[in-house]
Every structure is written in C-alpha cells, then in structure tokens.
Amino acid sequence: MTESQQPDSPSPDRELALASRSFWAEAWRRFGRRKLAMGALVFVGLLALVAIFSPAIAGTKPIVCKYKGRLYFPAMAYFNPRWENEVFYRDKFRKRYPENLKEKDPDSWAIWPLVYQDPFRRVHAGEWEGQPGNPTGADGRPSRYNWLGTNQEGVDVFAQLVHGTRIALLVGFVSTGIAAAIGIALGALAGYLGGWVDMLLSRLIELVMCIPALVFILALIAILENPTIWHLMAVLGITGWTGIARLTRGEFIKLSKTEFVVAAQALGAGRFRIMFRHMLPNALAPVLVPISFGIASAILIESALSFLGFGAPPPNPSWGTLLNAGRSNLQMWWLIVFPGTAIFLTVLTYNLIGEGLQEATDPRLREAGK
C-alpha cells in the first residue's frame, strides 16, 4: 500500500513524524504493544499448528511408512478419507496398521504419530505395544494412556480434541470468510452507489438482522437433509454478514466524499475499480474488527449446534459433539471440562484479537496517544 492512499490521517503532525511508516505498519506496532492481544495471536498460531499437524499428533495411521518398496502417507486420510492409498484396502489392513505392516512386509518401517489414539474409534488391547485397550464408560478417567480420558464408547478425548481443532478453525475461517465476502460486497455497493440500491440493500440488512438467528439457522439446516460440516459453514456465513455489511456501508459513505475518490472518478476509473481497488483497502481496517469477533461467534454457534445435536453428522469430532456426550454423562467430568475449556479459550482469544485490532486501527483511540 502506498502513502497516497492514506488521505485520512488522524493527526497530521503525528503522521509527519512517522512519514516513513504506512498505516498498516503503524497499526501493527500498536497491536504489538498490547501483550494480551499478541498472546492471543500466538495462541491462534499454536491452534493452527495443532490443526494442521493433527494427524501427526494423535492418530493410528503412520505419518510415513515404507510398505512393499514404496512410500505411503496413510495419516493424510484424516484430512480426506480418499487420500488413503487403496493398497491398504486391498491388503485388508482394516485400520490396524502396526500389526499388519509387520506381518505383511517384514522390511517395512513407519513413523508414527506422537500419541497412538484415534478420534473415531476405540483403540483395543494389543494394537500398540505396551498400551492397554481404552477403558469405556465411567472408567475412562484421565490416565497415563488417555491423557484427557475416554468417552462412553472408549474413544480417546485427547485425540478428538486435537482433531476437533481442525473443525473449529475451519468453521471460524470459512464461515466468517463467506460472511465477510457477502458483507463487504453488499456494504460497498450500498455505501458507494447510494440511491435506490442503498435503500434496497439497507432494508435487506435490516430484514436479516431482525430474523431470530437461531430460527434462521435451524430452519436452513433442517432443509438440507444430510448437512455436512461444509453446509453448516455456508449457513453460518449466509446468516452472519449483516454487521460487516453495515460497517462497510458506513465506511464507504464516509470515503466516497474524500479527495482521492473524487480524483479517481475524475480520472475516469470505473465504479468497481474505485470501490474495490481504491476504497476497500482504506475501509478494511475497521471491518477487520467485526470479522475477528465473527470468527469467535461462528466457532461458538457451531459448537452450540453440535451440542444441541444439530451439527454435522458423526463421525465428527467437533468440540460441541464432545460436550453433548458429556451432558448425558455428567459424572464423566472430563468430557465437559476439556472441550469446554478449549471452546472458552478459543473464543476468548478471538475476542482479544478483535479488541486489539479495534484499538490499533481506530483513529479516535490513536489520537489519545495510548
């Protein structure tokens, strides 16, 4: 971004002193001063790492293995079941890798995940050397082998939590991404074009805002007969864009009167070029704030829906599904405390980031010099 696109500097003398710094560099510096916000950002980074490397952290499939002279990556099946090489189906591994690898090819070797536990099924005795089978029911309290306990069916909670991170982050980013795309596009159109377009779009925003969110979401999900996690994300995106649209509209109305927009118009730039090349970068900072809060609320709603039994169908190691299992077995506290804490920390993190962004990019707060 060039300096010429920064006409609305909050205080001219300050801007002079920091002439070499762009708006975003300045915002980043301010954001960095808030320890909590930075801590939150680090935490999100950690969560992202856990999500990306979830099959390497907890799983029953080797990350890499050499089998009959070829290299395979069976752990990738946790991302997409179709990525599991069919040689393992043909050779009838039946999801038991350790014994079958040795038995069917003595020369084989494999690198295993850190924890031999599966998010979808119970690990039985004798599957992994020196590790007993998972306990079921109320016996599944946290232990050496099951760090966070097991659920009613004996599935490891730690493995579910690790793989659930993927769902939580995916839901947060994808559904908020959809909401942001809809919200920014409609808000920009309404704010820049004005007139009857603004009138119509504003009514639409009001309408969607007034529909009780849960009615809307539950009804939309019920219409899809077999909702997957992707449908859920789409529904959350379709219902969650109004706040972003409102804010974008306000920003665009403000910006449409500034000199650089008038200059662009005078130069004959097209409407869409002005809106999305010239104005959007300048309106983006305030819009990032509701996006950050939107991620938090998307994660919250997804786990609430899974908790109510309206989420994606099993097998689905969503944090909300775990909580739901704990609700009918309250004496198994580990089914509630660990996923509950995970949801809480993630929501807290995004709230902190949102607040940090707000203070870093809001010119009114910047003038206060804090």
Binding site: L207, L323, F344, L348
Partner: protein, 330 residues
C-alpha cells in the same frame, strides 16, 4: 415525532411481513410434516391409512402450497388467531401463555441482579481505574464475558449437581420444580423453585454482568474527564456524591437505550440454557416446536420474537429522544 412514529411503524409492519414470509417458506420446506413425524414415533400397528393422512393434511391446511397457506395464516393473524398447535392440540396463544411465566421468572430476576451488581461494580472500576485490584476484577469479568453460557452451565452442573451431591450445597440437576412439588407447603414450594432457579439465573446473569459493568465503566470514564466534574470536586463535593450524582446521572442516556435492546431477550428466553436445565420456557418450546415440525407454534413464536426485536429498537430510539433533548425526529 408523530409522522416519524407512523413511518417507523409502517416500515416495521412491512419488515414483519417479510420476516414471517421467509420463515414460513423455510419452515414449510423442512423435510417431514408434523403428521409424518408423529407417525414415525408410534408403533407400526397404529399407523393410519393414506386416506386418513390426506384428510388430516386437509384439516390442518397442509395440502396447499405454502404461499397459499401463508396468505391464510396472515388472514387468521389479522383476526388475532395464531392457530392451533398440531402436535399439542392446543391454541398457540395458550401454549405461549403457559411458557412465558417460567421464562420471565429467569430473565427478570437475572436482569435485576445484573443491574444491581453491574452499577456498583462499574463505579468501583471507575474509582480504582488502573490499580491492580481493578485490573484483576476487569480481567476476570472480561474472561467471563467470553465464556459461552452452555459451557458455564455444564461446568456448574458438574460442580453443584454431581460433585457436591449429598452435601448441603447440592443443587437440582434439571426442571423448575421437584417431583414432590404438589405435596409441599407454600414456603417449601418457594424454596424448591428458588433452588431450581439458582444455576440457570447464574448462567443468565454472569455474561450480562460482565457486559453491563464494562459498559458503565467506559461511559463513566468519558464523563469523569469533563470540566463539570472537576468543578464539582473543586467546590468540595464528596467523592461518592461526585460519582453517583454528577457523573453517573450523565451516563444514563446510553444506559436507557440498552434497556430497550434487552426487551427481546427478556421474553424469548435462551434455547440452549432452557434445554440444558430442562426449564419449561419459551426457548424450549421453540426448540421442541422445530423438532416436531409444529408449524403454527414456530410461526407464533417467530412472530413474537420479531415483534419484540422491532419494538425494542423503536423503544430505544424513542427513549433516546426522551432522555436527550438534543435528539429530535422531526
């Protein structure tokens, strides 16, 4: 003001028609009807014939396409008739009337509690602003604010209903009354309901408490820097009187608009919390109606919620003009 009110009301009416139209369409297109869902539950021997099903569909107006049914629903609504619940065989208005009491019991007591605690806490944070104890309190409140209510509800249930079972601190797991409620004396009944209320009210309260006290604090901090506060201090007004009389009174404007916006939450209840605590309120009724595909009840509740949201917004705007003479709508 009058023409503004008329314009807002007309616009609200239009929005209402659009909302109910959208929801009606969505609800009628959900797979399964109240009749087929009810049939799926009873044993196969009692399954009714195709003809009977057709006749029942006709009786409930389910045989017509949904836009036609919507117009009929609107017509009935104009005569103040919300229809009869299909799965419960009762007028929808009576169902709502039954469920509104328990919801109000929770929401009114929690709002009362939240305001009662939030205002002094806001004062406290203003006075001790920046000190260590205030930072600690604010941090805890901020974390509470991020705590999802259903997670908190489950934590509390694990603690009070399961861990502390058998001790004096044990609290009931679910419901509004115990099984032996009918046999209790008046005082016993009161105590029974009170015990059942503790956990749900706590869950309703803590999040709004965090929100309100932050709200009070941020408004107070703006006011406390004003010249008239310095003047008041300079002329020797005591610190308590400055905070309560001079500062707080001037933060009432945003506070009042907040009251308008809490109106819908007062009556709609919380679907998730009422579900967790098996509380017989509006949120639970809505959840049950959705799973039973009970169209008239869903529509009745949607209508009520939307009216409340729109009224709340209008109320907030009007109150704004009432408490702040600078705001006019002419």
């Amino acid at each position: 003001m009058f023409s503004y009110l008329v314009r807002r009301l007309l616009l609200g009416l239009l929005t209402l028609v659009l909302i109910t139209f959208v929801i009606f369409g969505l609800v009628r297109n959900m797979p399964g009807t109240p009749l087929t869902l009810a049939l799926a539950e009873v044993d196969p021997s009692r399954r009714i014939s195709e003809e009977d099903l057709k006749r029942m569909e006709k009786a409930y107006g389910l045989d017509k396409p949904w836009p036609e049914a919507y117009v009929k629903w609107l017509g009935n609504l104009a005569q103040l008739d919300l229809g009869r619940s299909i799965s419960r065989k009762q007028p929808v208005t009576r169902l709502i009337a039954q469920r509104i009491g328990p919801t109000l019991l929770l929401s009114v007591s929690s709002i009362f509690l939240a305001y009662l605690l939030a205002v002094p806490m806001g004062f406290y944070s203003t006075v001790r602003s920046g000190k260590h104890d205030e930072r600690a309190v604010s941090t805890v409140l901020y974390m509470l604010y991020a705590m999802p209510t259903y997670v908190a509800a489950l934590f509390l249930l694990v603690l009070f209903a399961v861990r502390l079972q058998g001790t004096a601190l044990e609290l009931p797991l679910f419901g509004m009354v115990s099984d032996n409620y009918q046999d209790l004396s008046a005082a016993g009944r009161f105590w029974d309901v009170l015990k059942h209320m503790v956990l749900p009210v706590t869950c309703y309260t803590y999040a709004s408490l965090a929100f309100y006290s932050r709200f009070v604090k941020s408004n107070m901090e703006e006011v406390i820097r004003q010249d008239y506060i310095r003047t008041a201090r300079a002329k020797g007004v005591g610190p308590v009187r400055v905070i309560v009389h001079h500062a707080f009174r001037n933060t009432l404007i945003p506070f009042v608009t907040l009251v308008g916006l809490t109106l819908p939450a007062l009556l709609s209840g919380s679907v998730i919390l009422e579900q967790i605590f098996t509380w017989p309120g509006m949120g639970r009724l809505f959840f049950e109606a959705i799973s039973e595909r009970d169209y008239p009840t869903i529509m009745g509740l949607t209508l009520m919620f939307s009216v409340l949201v729109l009224l709340g917004q209008l109320l907030a705007d009007i109150l704004y003009a009432v408490v702040d003479p600078r705001v006019t709508y002419s």
